[in-house]
Symmetry: none
Subunit: 249 residues, 2 copies
């Protein structure tokens, strides 16, 4: 047995279910290195004895960590710390939240921020009149100070605070106005860096670029943004979870 019982602190009186408390403890130990990658966890029966909670509940905690990709089970053998810890961040998040969930510090260098009229494609995508006002935002997005992506967003002006109050996180600004997108469609494409992109991202012309076009929508279906981004191919990967087609569809 590799773990010391003292490290697992569970509170039966807490409103947090025991299995989530145990999952959190195990998560902390794995991240902290108390159990190394590839090593086995104590068996379910051992964990049950160590923590005085039933094996069914121990399994429920392990189930949660399995879905996070932190652990892997081998029947008849044991439960192991997964080799690759990948963060399935297929939830709808802006650049800032995405970077924070990856453990990097997000930043921005503004290229353009102004109110403008939409072109035909933008008006169609945002479902707004050709004469309506949109906010056009172009930035170099950085992670820990290094350029990672070029992001060009177009948003109906009515959904945002005044241009001066938008700050560095578009999604945060939308949230302040109660206009949080709940659904989005993204299109990903592999491409090569143009000379302009190469200069802004500090990479060679012709380097790999991951282009992402995102359209997102409010709960009532109204379009929120049309954003086109160009990510450095060598520094960024996109993780998504897919499920079986629900039905009919």
């Amino acid at each position: 047995m590799t773990l010391e019982q003292g490290r697992i602190a569970l509170d039966g009186a807490s409103p947090t279910p025991l299995y989530l408390q145990l999952a959190e403890s195990l998560r902390g130990m794995i991240r902290g290195g108390a159990v190394r990658v590839g090593e086995a966890l104590p068996s379910e029966r051992e964990l049950s004895a160590m923590t005085s909670i039933s094996r069914v509940t121990v399994r429920k905690a392990i189930d949660a960590l399995l879905r996070e990709g932190l652990l892997s089970r081998r029947p008849g053998s044991g439960t192991y710390v997964a080799i690759r810890i990948e963060q399935p961040a297929s939830v709808l998040a802006g650049f800032s939240a995405d970077m924070q969930s990856r453990g990097a510090r997000p930043g921005s260098v503004w290229l353009e921020q102004r109110v403008d009229a939409p072109n035909a494609e933008e008006a169609a995508a945002l479902n707004c009149a050709p004469g309506a006002a949109v906010v056009r935002m172009s930035r170099v997005r950085t992670a820990d100070g290094e350029p990672l992506a070029i992001e060009r967003a177009v948003v109906p002006a009515t959904l945002l605070p005044p241009v001066g109050d938008i700050g560095d996180s578009l999604y945060e600004a939308l949230n302040r106005r109660g206009n949080r997108p709940v659904r989005g469609v993204q299109r990903l494409q592999s491409s090569l860096a143009t000379p302009q992109e190469a200069q802004l991202l500090d990479i060679p012309v012709g380097a790999a670029i991951l282009r992402i076009e995102r359209r997102s929508f409010l709960a009532n279906g109204a379009p929120v943004e049309l954003t086109r981004s160009a990510y450095r191919g060598d520094r960024y990967d996109f993780v998504t979870e897919v499920r079986e087609a629900a039905y009919g569809g």
Copy 2:
């Protein structure tokens, strides 16, 4: 109660666990319209009584359908058939189905197909013993006769028909054995074509390549495949839908 007991056929002697049998029955009823969208399922205690299986096991079946997005639970109220979700191309489909949905004719040129032992990474990803048998499949995938991608799949041999009977669609072969993946995690990366890839895909060295690594899983969580693909960047884009974080587990 909307369901008739007669519709749920469970076989205690079957090697398939009861909770998966029940999940399949419920899935069929929902797809067949026996319970309409927005309607409540019989309560867990009712299902338990109807099927003579314990409530814990009934919950486990419902858990699986929740993860597929087919059902939604409301504490204190009931379990409901989820509102129909608009499905983009981010559903879990193999190359053949993906191409057909895009209106192209899928094809294959085999590079390799054999039973082998997994390497360390594959054994970890597939949760199988180092000495287990896996089927290794490498193909150039074509759309309307044009090379579009190089696909290298590794699947536990136990999940597949004999190697000679696999045919050209991996997912179809898995389905024949009842091993349909219901969930997958994909990692996408932009990259450049290596000389070997360039030759196989008939593109210049250094052209844009979209690399996709997919791990997919059965309803019971068992890993099905580890597949690495290299798509022509100029011919393929990947569309995915993102939602606000919803289901908690």
